[in-house]
């Protein structure tokens, strides 16, 4: 008798759990997985969101479907997009999030929140700023893939090559939430049929302030991380150019005078190979010349770049963290006040390892 009751209870529990414990199923063929999303500025409290969804056709071709909607909150726009789509739109496969420069200028804090709050969004998502309207950029089809995958491959490839510093959603959120650093994002632009990585967009808190000049990009990366495969083009006197490739860099930070106003001395070590040279011969003297000039040029660029950062009171490289990690009882407010006047010196030490197969 007791055993019968037991069996009955267990059956009832399993039955109830099966009946009421079910959640909505999402079958891959019945959902639309957005692969890229872009935000454009309309007016002060309205934005336009564009979502790109790959459309897998029976002939193994991948097409694009773009949906656009405008609303106050980015999540809300997604439901609006959902209304247009024949299938449910989910954002678990989102690869790229783009913000137009206009949106970035007005601050992307509220938009970023939807990315950091949603557990289904990957931390490896690429966030980027787009020159012009993202709507136009995303509406086009590039290459033989859907736009989202194409953009993510474009950015990823360039990060691996060392053309832009590695950034993903996690690193962006880390910098964005940090008191000591300001975020930066890759800047992309549409040029005819291609999309082009233009440079780096710098932010103050969540506002876009300026983009880094292309010639400063190399030293920016060298200060930020240890490069593996950098390339640098150097203009020598009288129209001679030299391209140095496979540069790997190492930077060492030294902070002195921590008690009062800290001074930061950075030593950057570069090792590279000459790939192209428009001069006549690459003999010992010439190489020495190239090396000297490269060091001088980079130091000049670094000084100009850091000065512009200090003027804008932004710290994308994270000097603040370097000072903090060397200071006991670090006082945040004091550092913020000091930052524009802190002396930051960069010393470059270049070594040219090889010069190719000819002299």
């Amino acid at each position: 008798m007791k055993k019968k009751i037991k069996i009955a209870v267990v059956t009832i529990i399993i039955f109830f759990a099966y009946m009421f414990g079910r959640v909505q199923r999402q079958i891959l063929d019945d959902i639309n997985m957005a692969s890229a999303v872009g935000y454009d500025y309309i007016d002060k409290d309205k934005i336009k969101a564009t979502a790109v969804m790959p459309n897998y056709k029976p002939d193994k071709n991948v097409g694009n479907e773009t949906y656009t909607a405008s609303n106050e909150i980015s999540k809300k726009t997604l439901t609006k997009i959902n209304r247009q789509s024949s299938r449910q739109v989910v954002n678990g496969k989102l690869e790229v999030a783009l913000y137009s420069k206009e949106v970035a200028k007005h601050g992307i804090g509220e938009l970023v929140d939807s990315l950091q709050r949603d557990p289904s969004i990957s931390e490896r998502l690429f966030v980027a700023v787009a020159e012009g309207e993202t709507h136009e950029l995303l509406n086009k089809r590039y290459g033989d893939r859907d736009t989202g995958v194409y953009l993510s491959m474009l950015i990823e490839q360039n990060m691996k090559e060392g053309i832009v510093p590695t950034t993903n959603l996690h690193q962006f959120l880390n910098d964005y939430n940090s008191h000591l650093r300001d975020p930066f994002l890759p800047l992309i632009e549409q040029k005819g049929k291609e999309v082009n990585l233009k440079g780096i967009a710098l932010f103050k808190d969540d506002h876009y302030v300026k983009n880094l000049r292309q010639d400063q990009q190399f030293i920016f990366q060298a200060l930020l991380e240890n490069l593996q495969l950098g390339t640098y083009k150097l203009k020598l006197k009288d129209k001679e150019f030299v391209a140095i490739e496979n540069i790997n860099s190492k930077s060492r930070y030294r902070v002195v005078n921590l008690k009062n106003t800290p001074e930061i001395h950075i030593q950057v070590k570069l090792r590279g190979i000459i790939r192209e040279y428009t001069g006549k011969r690459t003999d010992k003297k010439e190489i020495e010349q190239i090396k000297k000039q490269m060091e001088k040029q980079l130091e000049k660029e670094a000084a100009a770049m850091i000065r512009s950062f200090q003027k804008l009171k932004i710290d994308p490289i994270g000097f603040g963290n370097h000072v903090r990690s060397r200071t006991r009882n670090f006082r945040y407010q004091r550092w913020v006040d000091q930052y524009p006047d802190v002396k930051i010196g960069v010393k470059v030490n270049a070594i040219i390892l090889e010069k190719g197969v000819v002299d």
Binding site: K93, P119, S120, N168, S325
Partner: protein, 363 residues
């Protein structure tokens, strides 16, 4: 008073390693970093080390009491404070065990709801989990130990996943070492002792160990494993997150899993959350086992009927905790009690117990 447990229900001393470590390593692992870092900042890993040592001392205290009385918490209480007060204290302890088991259950369901299925209702899931808890606990202590063993061994592959985020870490975040005052470090222990809690159930299952005196080294070893594992997770977390960002993240460990990308699975944290069901189940099992065993000892009731009653109670409380805020409130409340219980009451009991024994020897 003492009831001798038959030889066939006993477990080997080395299994205490799994019982101690398995109980400590629970739902807290997914979220413990934030509470510690709130006070101790980038020195949070030191707080883990200090707490690990403290827990070693408490384990030693418990063994010293248990070896003397040759019983469990209930006999210690009865011998120290007399029958009535002793039983009342045991009952309060059991109440805490029950509250904690509900915390574990509800926290896990919340994680599933937030990270996997937002539409999942609490009660069907709780019902199924508690049904399996009944199944395990009613089969006896040996089965509970077996599940504990599995819970340590099966998800042990997850240790590799804590290494992956290093790619995106800056270990400079950990410097300068010892940048916080002693007071701040002491405060942070309050946060970290809870992630270590779980060893106190030794007070209940001690009589079920074969040659219990020899199991002490395994208990210490279990705690050592926990300390080292927490240390690894903490250091990676501190390097992976900026301090200001870490304060925003509710489940830092799950957040770290989000960065893992495998060719065959887009979101690793789904696997992580699912694996956590295996980690969490024996914890609830042993908690219910301890609670029902305690009540059985005090009131001389049948353990199974007590168990059914306790499971129902926990189920009701679990369903009453609806949103994040109430869960948070309930968790902090239970955590507060747990802190005083582990660092205050057990040492107090240790002193009382020894005074009592000294008195008895003299008299």
């Amino acid at each position: 008073m003492k009831s001798v447990i038959k030889d066939q229900f006993l477990v080997s001393p080395f299994l205490v390693l799994f019982l101690i470590h398995g109980m400590q390593y629970g739902v807290g692992v997914l979220s413990f970093q934030r509470d510690i870092a709130k006070v101790a900042g980038h020195d949070a890993w030191i707080s883990i080390l200090i707490t690990g040592i403290l827990v070693h001392i408490i384990i030693w205290m418990m063994y010293s009491m248990l070896n003397k009385t040759k019983g469990d918490l209930i006999t210690i209480h009865q011998q120290t404070f007399g029958k009535w007060i002793g039983n009342l204290l045991s009952l309060l302890f059991i109440l805490y065990v029950l509250a904690e088991s509900t915390t574990v259950l509800r926290s896990y369901i919340e994680i599933v709801q937030v990270w996997m299925f937002p539409l999942l209702k609490t009660w069907p899931f709780a019902l199924v989990l508690l049904l399996s808890v009944y199944y395990v606990v009613s089969s006896g202590f040996r089965i509970v130990t077996g599940v504990c063993f599995l819970a340590v061994v099966l998800p042990s592959y997850l240790i590799f996943t804590y290494v992956v985020p290093i790619e995106f870490s800056t270990f400079r975040n950990l410097l300068p070492v010892f940048d916080h005052s002693i007071l701040e470090m002491a405060q942070s222990i309050k946060g970290s002792i809870l992630s270590f809690s779980g060893f106190e159930y030794l007070l209940f299952y001690y009589p079920f160990i074969k040659q219990p005196e020899s199991s002490q080294k395994w208990a210490h070893f279990g705690n050592l494993v926990t300390t080292l594992l927490y240390l690894l997770i903490m250091i990676v977390t501190l390097a992976f997150f900026d301090q200001a960002y870490l304060q925003k993240v509710i489940w830092p460990t799950l957040m770290m899993w989000k960065i893992i990308e495998l060719p065959f699975v887009e979101r690793f944290e789904i696997i992580g959350v699912t694996s956590w069901a295996v980690v969490m189940l024996p914890i609830i099992c042993l908690m219910f086992w301890s609670a029902s065993r305690g009540i059985k000892e005090i009131f001389k009731l049948k353990q199974r009927s007590v168990l059914v009653f306790l499971l129902l109670l926990s189920f009701i409380v679990c369903c009453l905790l609806i949103d994040r805020e109430t869960i948070q409130q309930y968790n902090t409340f239970v955590a507060e009690i747990g802190f005083y219980l582990l660092l205050g009451y057990i040492p107090f009991l240790f002193i009382c117990c020894h005074i009592r024994f000294k008195m008895r020897e003299k008299g």
